[in-house]
Symmetry: C2
Subunit: 390 residues, 2 copies
């Protein structure tokens, strides 16, 4: 059976990602393909790497996109930096930290898992104590926990890790392009992200960067990397300089990423972070006016991922479904511990804009009222307008 | 530094892949993104899987694209079906068979490598003997060896593997959509391919199918799959039925694949295979008229990948470069043992058409004459025209 022509209804994607890709990014993907060894494509790779370094805030030579989605970036960091018998400390304060434990365990390394209740950040003093006590080869932590909307401060961790000879691995999937991230200033050794959130591209790539210390650890390995596809000792030959073939690069996705990075740099990182914060403040004012309370404490709320408690007596799925079917707006449900208990509203990349804020607040008001909640008419949008200073 | 707008010169991609994507496929990628759990996208997944089954010639339930390029498909098969202490026999008659050995070794399994000189196919009687002697858990072989242009017959291997309790793993990267492949008839247990060759899509996905026997082996594993990203016991929950989140699907690439599969089925598999063969016959007539001889013996030459010896006294890189720079035509060089010794001319998917044949022959004639080879004017194109019956 041949499927019919592809004509889905458009949605406004305000979940945890993907968000809508910037129209220029979609257009860039229609550029005719080039061979992965064409001099024109090699130049495109160089440009993409250069812009990626700027967006990551790093001079790391080994900076390029992994040819798979964000979770492959996580695996790339762990599988390349860990060997059987190594020790790694992994911090879990939500769904993605917990995943990092699973991914780390498959490398054969000894994994020490630290847990923090979902919705909270780790206390830096506690982390410093653990690091000093365990002196692990690597330390893994999530900067922006997508499942809870919690921002994790990394202050001082990089310096301490350097002193202890520990490699600092940071999950930047939801932070890159949305909130401040400066890989070199933070002395991060391995960072990975995704294409479909702060960079405003479709999902499919995982931007990655390794410090010289991480590269040295990679080169000092005694055993082969367990994954062939994610083996940086080989991929590095393609992206690292001599451009020798490892696997066929996902050409159209690289076109998309290149365009996404251009748009980020045209706006400027500081301006982009400020835009994400401004729209978050307005959304937050509106959500609270509607009676929706944040899960994360003030001070560690992610501007790009607004996770709120579902109000008592309000069902999860039917109301999100109404948002989707009646309003063509996608918001996210809860994962893991928060299943059925949280809604996650993303304002990421291209979608972090006032019209997203107003649309989702107006729709939520209607849906919540329809579900029986008492909400003053127009209260969410009005509160956002005040926050914007209109 | 912000890179300039993306405007590369278009090429005619007649190398080993990627080939040019069908224009309809590029257009499909501009479809606005959907969330990976949107009911509309779940329907798109179902349609894509259904068409993929038809193109693979299988009823296998577990049939879907891996969210990475073809080599990840190879790793997915091996890493999911093998555990430490298992035995696998891997056949290498070129670059990609040799890679399969490396990928298999990283699973911790015992790998028995069979080697055949590059440019030759394996003798089926020999393979049957080895299988009966070793009775391995799995047996891996490449159907269309992209590095040498050799077609490997699989006749009778599937039946024998079933009798011996061996899982038959076949690399179909260059065969799917180009040359006859019927997974169920051949009793293949695990097959993987790519998006950028016979399916006429950009690189980035690896269509994969597992038989019920392979799924049973997967479920009987004693240890966790070594790769988290490629762990089918988990991905299966997303693509297999309950659609629960594993990683964010590469939405735009799935749009592309869906469109590519529609185009394949609109043409019909038999007609598509016949088209690839017809254009190959014409190209071959032309290449031989130009004095270029095939590496593979008659009877095992791949229609979609025409590998020829570089004539004595003719340099590899400067002449391929001239093809690229003066004519905007990409042809492939040799890999591994064939580096500097072979040219590989692909006629795959959308690019398997008479104009590709005529363009590459006319350009090659000019380039070869420029390099000092005696070639009768128009001889290549004329021979192709005769072969087409013009």
């Amino acid at each position: 059976m041949i499927a019919s022509q592809l004509t889905p209804r458009s949605r406004l994607l305000l979940g945890p990602g993907p968000c809508d890709a910037h129209p220029r990014v979609l257009t860039a993907m229609t550029t005719p393909l080039l061979g992965h060894l064409d001099p024109q494509f090699l130049e495109i790779m160089t440009e993409t790497q250069s812009m990626m370094r700027e967006v990551f805030g790093t001079n790391n030579r080994l900076t390029f996109p992994i040819s798979a989605t964000g979770m492959a970036g996580m695996e790339t960091c762990l599988v390349n930096l860990l060997e059987p018998d190594d020790t790694v400390v992994v911090c879990a304060k939500g769904f993605f930290g917990a995943r990092m434990i699973d991914v780390a365990e498959r490398t054969g390394a000894r994994v020490i898992a630290l847990h923090q209740p979902w919705g909270q950040a780790f206390d830096l003093n506690h982390l410093r104590e653990v690091l000093k006590r365990e002196r692990p080869k690597a330390f893994g932590i999530v900067q922006a926990e997508t499942s809870t909307g919690v921002h994790q401060s990394l202050e001082g961790l990089g310096k301490l890790c350097q002193e202890l000879g520990t490699l600092l691995i940071v999950d930047c999937v939801t932070s890159l392009g949305c909130t401040p991230l400066k890989v070199d200033d933070l002395k991060i050794d391995a960072a990975f992200s995704c294409s479909q959130k702060g960079l405003g591209c479709p999902p499919g790539l995982s931007p990655l960067t390794f410090s010289d210390r991480a590269v040295a650890a990679l080169k000092a390995r005694k055993s082969k990397v367990r994954s062939w596809y994610l083996d940086l000792t080989m991929i590095e030959s393609y992206w690292g300089g001599d451009r020798s073939y490892h696997h066929t690069a996902p050409i159209s996705m690289i076109y998309a990423l290149r365009e996404g990075l251009r748009i980020v740099l045209e706006e400027g990182l500081e301006a982009r972070w400020a835009r994400h914060f401004r729209n978050h403040v307005a959304l937050k004012a509106g959500l609270e006016a509607l009676g929706l309370n944040y899960i994360a404490a003030p001070g560690c709320q992610l501007p790009q991922l607004n996770a709120v408690h579902i109000p008592a007596g309000i069902e999860d799925i039917p109301n999100r479904k109404r948002m989707l079917i009646d309003f063509d707006i996608e918001i996210g449900g809860g994962l893991g511990d928060f299943k059925g208990k949280a809604w996650r509203i993303g304002l990421m990349g291209y979608n972090s804009k006032p019209s997203s804020v107003f649309q989702v607040l107006a729709a939520l008001e209607t849906v919540l009222r329809g579900a029986g909640l008492k909400v003053a008419a127009g209260s969410g949008v009005a509160a956002a307008e005040v926050a914007y200073g209109n």
